[in-house]
Each structure stands twice: as C-alpha cells, then as structure tokens.
Amino acid sequence: MSIRHFAFASLASLFIAGPVAAAQTLLNVSYDPTREFYSEFNVAFNKHWQVQGNEPVTIQQSHGGSGKQARAVIDGLRADVVTLALAGDVDELYKLGKLIPENWQQRLPQSSTPYTSTIVFLVRKGNPHGIKDWDDLVKPDVAVITPNPKTSGGARWNFLAAWAYAKQHYGSDTQAQAFVEKLYKNVPVLDTGARGSTITFVNNQIGDVLLAWENEAFLALKEEGGENFEIVAPSLSILAEPPVAVVDENVDKKGTRKVAEAYLNYLYSDEGQRLAAKHFYRPRNQAIAAEFSTQFPALKLVTVDKDFNGWKTAQPKFFNDGGVFDQIYQAH
C-alpha cells in the first residue's frame, strides 16, 4: 500500500464508521447524575459479558442534560442504548426520530425503569432556615436552587413534586400554580442541568436549599465538604423513574443488538441492582432494596402515571412552550 493509499484510507476511515471494527463498542447516552454509577456498572458488565464467553466490549459514555442528550440522539448521535432521566425524553426518540418503536417502555420489566429515585432537599449544616417541607420553600427569605425544567429532566421531577404537594394541600390547579410560582420566585440561579445546580449550591455556596435527585444529594454528602450539608426528606415527593431503552435503529445498523440488550438486562440482575443501590438509586428488586433499607428514608411518593396521567400529558401541559412553566416565568 502506497503512502497515498494509506493516507486516503485513514482519512476515509475518519469519516466512515466501517463495519470491520474489531472490538464492539457500545455507546450509552445518559443524563448528568449517572456518571459515577455507569462508570462502575460498565466494568461489572464487561466482566459478566466475558464470563459468558464473549469478546470484551468497549463501552463509551456520554452525559448531559436529559433533554439535550435525547436531542443529540435524534440528531444522529449513535447511541446503542439511552438511559435518560424521564420517559418523556425517550418518547421523543420515537416521535421525532422513529428510532425506537412506540411501545418501547413495555420491552423491559417495570416499564423499562430498572431503578428509581426521588426528589429530596439538601440544606446547609444545622438547617439554619429550619426547612422541613415544601411549605418552607415559599417563605420569602429562602433561596431555592433547582435547574431549568425546560432542559433538565431532574428539574421536571422537582417541579412535579412541588405541584403534587401543593395540589394535595391546597386543592386546585390554580392554587398549585400559585404555589410553584412563589417557589420559583425564590430561585436565584436556574442552571441548565442537575449537576450545574449542585455545583452552584455546593461549590459556589448560593442558596439555602437544593432540590435534588436523592442519589445526587447523597453523592454531594460523600464529596469533599459534604459534612457541611444535610438531607431533608419532605412529607411528600415523587417517584422518579429514569427509563432505559435500546435504540433499535442504531443497534441494527451497528450489529450490536445482542450486547446492547444484555447490557440493559444486566441492570436488572442482582449485581446491577446492588451497584445502583450503592450509587444511591433505589433498586426495583425488593430483596436488594431491603438490604439497603436503612439508606433510603421511607417517603410518601406520587407517580407521574397515576397523578399526572403520564408524561404524554404532563410534558405539554407543564413544560412545552406556553405551558405552565412559561406562564409562571412570564408572570415574574
């Protein structure tokens, strides 16, 4: 092969992902707070995969705001699997890109959500503002940190949890809207992703309370300076169900369906569930959840499907352009 041939071939290989790639690669496109969990899970899965007599697989990770990540996949990021913050974002893969079938959520157990989480409060040591429940967040002198529900999946769970609380305590949608409007008036910084908010609260020391994924809050306690914070569990929160899906269009093109499906199934295995719990996700497997019962406070949890008629209703009503969130922001 002449140098020119070689140069051309290597240039071409930059542009064309050839089917001849020796080792299989698997791209997991995920949302912000799962980095640490999947870093460890990938190693465990690879071991399991090889024990079963397969070639090792290179697992790539991409993280960002959940909506942003779904959009990237729709725009052509070749994810084999997506592990996003909420079903609404995965739905878009069907609606806009036709990358997965409409019934994707029925393909895996528990509506394709191998682990769950919830929304808790992270406050500064000693809880100087005495924050106990959602009502404390609308007091005029409390600064609340939460990301932008338009871009962040976690923020949408935050929003719905606050809404559910207000609705139960004050009755009507109008009053619930007035409540969340008051709450968002107390938000001084609205980051684009859950991680951005945690950084704002923990590192830049802004705000009195952070509305956070439970796993994110635990993680913050574990990090440097974590002793300066404590977790407060509100009287009512929401069952956050982050779903996973194989992206059919991409795995069929790349020939990775088998490993992609094995990867997601392994999330339901005992080891997968234990790793999830280790990284502060609530395991679906009841036996393993019981092993970690001291770690997770018992909470009264509402669900999107029962209390909000699923994401297909909640997303347009609250978060699309002109929805409730836009209304409360423009009322400012």
């Binding site: 064309i16 790539q60 990237a72 725009d75 052509g76 070749r78 945690t198 950084i199 993680l219």
Partner: protein, 281 residues
C-alpha cells in the same frame, strides 16, 4: 526673544509636571488592570489546580480521558489550522494583488464568522448534517457520520477560525504592493517560484502571527464544538469540553488541572506570538 523662550520653557515645564502625574496615573492603572483582569484569573486557575498538591494535578492531567481529549484537540487543531492557512494565503492573494468588482463584499464575507456566535456556528452544521437536517438522511443512509464525530468538530472549529490568517495577511500584502513579484516574473520565475522565493519570505512573520492566533482560537473553541460534539468521554470530548465535564463532576481540582494545561498552552502561544510579532516589526 529670550523671554519668549523662557515663557515657552516654563509652559513646557508645567506641562511636564502635569504629564508626570498623568503618566503615573496611567502606568498605575495599566498595572491594576493587568493584575486584576489578567494575572488574578491566571493565578486562581493554577492555585485551584495545585490545591491538593502536585500529585493530584499530575494524576488529573494524565488521566486517560484527559489525554484522549488532548489528542482530539490537537488533531482538530492540526486539521483545521492548515486548512485555514491555505485559505488565508489564497484569499489574501486575490484580495491584495488584484482589483476586481465585489472585492469589498468578499472581504466582508471573509470576516463574517467573526460576528457569528459560536453557538450559531454549531447550530448551522446540525441543521445541515443532523439526522433531521437537510442532508442528514442521505448521510445516514450511506453511514457517514459528520456531527458527533471528528468531521463535525473540525468543521465547527474551521468555521470560527476562518478569518484569522486572511485578516493578518491582507493588510500586510496590500502594504507590500506587487513590484517585487513583478520583478521576479520579468526575471523568468514561474508562478510557484515567485511565490516561494519572493512572496513567502515577505509575509512569513505575518503568516506565523495569523497561524498563532488561529491556533489559539481553534484550541479553545467551546460553544460551537459543544453543539456538535456529542460529549462521548474519551472519544469526542475536546479539552475545553473536558474541563466543563470535570467541573460538572464536582471534580474541581481536576477541572482546574486540565484548565491549567490549557493555560500553559495559551502561554506558549503568547510567547510564539510575541516572538513572531517582534520579527514582524
């Protein structure tokens, strides 16, 4: 006559005193701006990076994903800078050596990317090459990946750095005129000989200066690359994107360590720039 000289002397003495105060004020404020605006951010990057000692710093810089990000950044710079270098020379050549209708429009178009937000630069490539975009479906059918892969990162980088070399060369070559080239031609040199032996030596330092600026911007581009990167760790993360990721991972020290690596590269670029500039004068 002597009284006039005296009066003038007194006036200029008074002025000198006034000047001396003005001079001091200006120098002190120059120092203040320098310290507050340039030195302090630089020091904070280094001090945050070394907060936990040199060991953590080195570990962060040599961590596999950081090394992969550095390689990708260098590769993207290595492709996009030569492209814009050739373009810059060609553009400066036709603009400065000939007069033709529409020349000022051409110069404006060359400068255009300066006034386009990097985010828009990323957006336009998504609109073009994204799966929902104009030629995205065709690319997908032929299994060609542009955005969320190296080609997209290079395209975005090229876009934001298009004007740099051309902008340095155009005034320089216009100032030099065409006599030397004409003489070379009359002496029998062909086009390439004339370019290599006459034009290139004349524009050498301006060229280096332009390349240096182009390299700096290409290395640090964030907004445009962020839109088209896909953020796959170890694969499509450039160094500036990696800084953001580490920053978002509570990995403050690692973020600032990688940032100080970029800072070091920036200082090297400044040195080369200073050197080429001094040769230019």
């Amino acid at each position: 006559m002597s009284s006039i000289t005296l009066a003038a002397g007194a006036a200029s003495n008074a002025k000198r005193r006034g000047n001396a105060i003005g001079r001091r004020v200006l120098i002190v404020s120059a120092w203040l701006v320098f310290a507050l605006f340039l030195l302090l951010p630089l020091l904070i990057v280094v001090s945050e990076a070394l907060k936990h000692g040199i060991g953590t710093f080195l570990a962060s810089v040599f961590e596999a994903d950081a090394v992969a990000a550095l390689q990708l950044t260098l590769l993207a710079v290595g492709i996009s800078v030569p492209l814009n270098l050739i373009f810059g020379v060609a553009a400066a050549w036709c603009v400065s050596k000939y007069s033709f209708r529409g020349k000022s429009i051409l110069v404006t178009l060359i400068d255009l990317p300066f006034s386009v937000s990097p985010v828009i630069a990323g957006l336009i490539y998504v609109l073009l090459f994204g799966a929902q975009g104009f030629i995205g479906p065709w690319l997908r059918a032929h299994d060609i990946q542009i955005i969320f892969a190296l080609p997209g990162i290079v395209l975005a980088t090229v876009f934001v750095t298009v004007p740099f070399v051309a902008r340095e060369l155009i005034p320089l070559m216009q100032g030099q005129g065409t006599q030397e080239e004409e003489a070379a031609r009359l002496l029998g040199a062909n086009g390439w000989q004339m370019f290599w032996h006459v034009t290139l030596p004349n524009i050498k330092w301006g060229l280096i200066y332009g390349v240096v600026l182009c390299t700096a911007r290409a290395m640090g581009e964030f907004g445009a690359v962020s839109v088209v990167s896909g953020h796959i760790r170890g694969y499509t993360n450039t160094l500036p994107l990696h800084v953001e990721i580490l920053y978002n991972e509570y990995n403050h020290v690692a973020a600032f360590s990688v940032a100080s690596l970029l800072l070091l590269l920036a200082l090297v670029i400044l040195l080369v720039k200073q050197w080429s500039e001094s040769r230019l004068k």
